[in-house]
Symmetry: C2
Subunit: 356 residues, 2 copies
């Protein structure tokens, strides 16, 4: 197991990565006046309780959980569990559980500590670092949330063994994104290990999750509130959010949408800022090896979403981009491995070609 | 008009106090890509729109507004108004509008700026400084919220002319509390000006609001996240929250409950930590001059709440104190003007006597 220290917003915590990392939970919860757990029902059934005797709210993971109703349910649970500001809330599940649990923790009594125990590959490499929390609004995904750094993060790679192939592949979409942002060393390692990753080799998983956490931590520490460099992490995400919006939230797994977004961003970078075609090819090959669609055409076919993922619906989805100014979606593009640029405008002709 | 600079959590903003301060709103909103206003319907009808052409959501002020449903409504309004992270949300109303607007602003797209334009005396002297936001949960008042410093605060004392006598008196409860915390100079000024305050003399109002803002700012700046000294501001509040909880939220105005809380805290301070009886007498006299009950007996009579404000219900309400550890309410007591102590335990016999 490795421990990666993260110092953010005057706080310091550790991300522990490795097979068996979740067994550290009881030690991290020791000394708290109360401990409560928000758990994915399926994860709790497969892997058992994290901490004996803690009040637990089991929920059905997924995008519908990230709603105002879901938030109300968790806040009421915190009240019923009698949590004080010195208590600990544990979020035990994938990204939706972590996002909701983190938001509830940031709000209950104006803020209590949260221990994140992400149980999907997507959440371990992405949601676990940076302290972003969110729920969806009827108007769009992740439209309400906070920045709330966790008291600790346990990325137990042994838990990934029980993920479905679809969930696992979705996580590989974020792995590929983070590797491109990280630079040649990270991208090369992911290319080298992709065969072992697909077989869920524990050592390969730990190496890649660790590398992704380090890349993300480096970017996030430089910009905790996402006002500048942190936006690099949105590589492919403006397209991905448009896809998820047009498909209906939850219809396309986030990492799958990110994968297609990476393919589109690579083509956009080639067309507008001189990115080499080799980077597009490496991206597409990695996506294919990971079992992910790399184009809208492939995505539409795989998910039977031809009627929803129309160019017009996707263009409308882009207009809702949360990070840009009103009406101006912000694209993040890679000119090379480790060379990400932000704020690139794309003209309507190119957008039409990409979204066709 | 006076301008009081407040530097908190790496941000700096000004609190502008005086008759006509709200006319500064258009200038403060200039340069934003979008501006939206959350307005108390009654205030908007009496005093007109703050900023011409801004999207406005008019709401009925009051404790029921501070709910998950109210929060959902304001967040959906922010989305419908097309706000970006660079936009401005204006909270134009009393404390409930400010608390809800501030919370929605802190959450929408993980945080946009809020301009607070408090329109009640209570909100001008209390809620306007410190960046606390909140909604109520079924389990208790202000149980979910955030710390979100405003981009600016406009305390327009001319707006106080249209408050009902009950609303105005309630605000005087917080004025008296803040004056005791501030020390002999602040307390003496409030005693000197109480006659003019009751007549809503604009100069007296501006002087007292300014003094209260300065006292509160001084305490808050030393402890933005309320981990230590800021708890001094909760003088009388543990009792007040128990009263509001037992009465049913909204049945007793907050400042009225605080007034009774000050009376109880003064008696507790006399009994346990050597506070002079003179301070209790000054407190009670100020409350009476302000038209506020200073004892539970008087409160029960005025509001006809004999059946709800029973000793047992009040004792149960104390157990829900948000600031203390599990099950241990934290009392804040004044040993003298400007000499506030925290963490004082009160034994059950004394509590029984106070709550009788």
């Amino acid at each position: 197991m490795v421990s990666i220290p993260i110092a953010l917003e005057g706080q310091r915590h550790e991300v522990i990565v490795g097979a068996g990392a979740s067994s550290e939970a009881p030690a991290l919860a020791a000394g708290r006046d109360r401990v409560a757990i928000l758990a994915d029902r399926r994860v709790a059934a497969l892997h058992g309780p994290l901490i004996d005797g803690a009040s637990t709210l089991e929920v059905d993971a997924g995008e519908p959980l990230k709603s105002m109703d879901g938030l109300a349910q968790v806040l009421d649970f915190c009240a019923a569990a009698g949590l004080s500001r010195g208590s600990l809330l544990v979020a035990y599940g994938g990204g939706t559980v972590g996002d909701l649990g983190g938001l509830a923790a940031s709000l209950f009594k104006r803020g209590l500590d949260v221990l994140q125990v992400p149980t999907t590959l997507l959440a371990q490499v992405d949601a676990s670092v940076g302290g972003k929390t969110a729920i969806n609004l009827p108007a769009g995904k992740n439209l309400a949330g906070s920045f709330h750094q966790p008291a600790g993060v346990l990325c137990d790679t042994a838990l990934l063994a029980t993920l479905s192939d679809a969930e696992f592949s979705s996580g590989l979409g974020e792995v590929i994104k983070t590797s491109i942002i990280g630079g040649e060393a990270a991208l090369g390692q992911t290319e080298e290990l992709m065969g072992s990753l697909i077989e869920r080799d524990p050592r390969a998983l730990t190496a890649v999750v660790e590398a992704c956490v380090r890349v993300k931590a480096q970017v996030v520490v430089s910009d905790p509130e996402e006002r500048g460099p942190r936006r690099a992490l949105n590589l492919g995400h403006t397209f991905a959010h448009a896809i998820e919006s047009a498909a209906g939230y939850g219809a396309v797994p986030h990492g799958v949408a990110v994968g297609v977004g990476l393919g589109l961003a690579a083509r956009a970078a080639e067309a507008t800022c001189g990115a080499p075609s080799e980077l597009t090819e490496r991206t597409v090959l990695l996506l294919e090896r990971a079992g992910l669609p790399s184009s809208l055409g492939a995505l539409r076919g795989v998910y039977g979403l031809e009627e929803r993922l129309t160019p017009a619906a996707l263009r409308a989805g882009l207009a809702h981009d949360k990070k840009g100014a009103v009406g101006a979606p912000e694209f993040v593009l890679a000119r090379g491995a480790g060379d990400v640029i932000m704020g690139q405008p794309l003209d309507e002709d190119l957008l039409a070609e990409l979204l066709a």
